[in-house]
Amino acid sequence: GGIITQTPKFLIGQEGQKLTLKCQQNFNHDTMYWYRQDSGKGLRLIYYSITENDLQKGDLSEGYDASREKKSSFSLTVTSAQKNEMAVFLCASSIAGGARTLYFGSGTRLTVL
């Protein structure tokens, strides 16, 4: 089996700061995703990537950038952290194609002071 590793597990930043979250997977999956989880609001898709160097915007991409330089890694940058962005960010990966199972990391919890 494989694993998705998200770093750091906890990230504390100042308002207005640029912050980067990292995700590594060893499933050899083509597609990777970043979701934001807010309490009571479920998961919302920020960015996804179908293959290396591909980026697709999700429903919540404003205020974020993403980068997929390698098949195994997918980074998310909060361009200017805001207090209302305190949430858990989940990375996932899947085989390409429809209706494939997503495999999730355990998340990065962001706190903005």
């Binding site: 597609t31 479920g42 998961l43 996804y48 697709q56 429809g98 209706a99 199972t101 997503l102 355990s106």
Partner: protein
């Protein structure tokens, strides 16, 4: 556009009791449907998924779900819950068109099992 509604934010049941968690979806075509579970401080894990065929699908740990096209629903059931089933449960839908696999999640239902 697709959407998912889980009408119950929190459900509390006693250990050994039966369980139903509700999920309603909105979609222009029959979508692919999923239930995921999130245990404390962990990511989401797949419980089961439905593509087509028998509307009752079996998942892990004794969970099953029933698809109803007429009701646009995909409710999750378990005959007898255990305290370890306490977690957050998410229903999700995918149109599975093209080469992507975008899932739309419901808001989640927090399940508390009382010993």
């Amino acid at each position: 556009a697709q959407s998912v509604t889980q009408p119950d934010a929190r459900v509390t049941v006693s250990e050994g009791a039966s369980l139903q968690l509700r999920c309603k979806y909105s979609s222009s075509v029959t979508p692919y449907l999923f239930w995921y579970v999130q245990y404390p401080r962990q990511g989401l894990q797949l419980l089961l998924k439905y593509y087509s065929g028998d509307p009752v699908v079996q998942g892990v740990n004794g969970f099953e779900a029933e698809f109803s096209k007429s009701n646009s629903s995909f409710h999750l059931r378990k005959a007898s819950v255990h305290w370890s089933d306490s977690a957050v449960y998410f229903c999700a839908v995918s149109m599975a068109t093209g080469g992507n696999n975008k899932l739309t999640f419901g808001q989640g239902t927090v399940l508390s099992v009382i010993p």
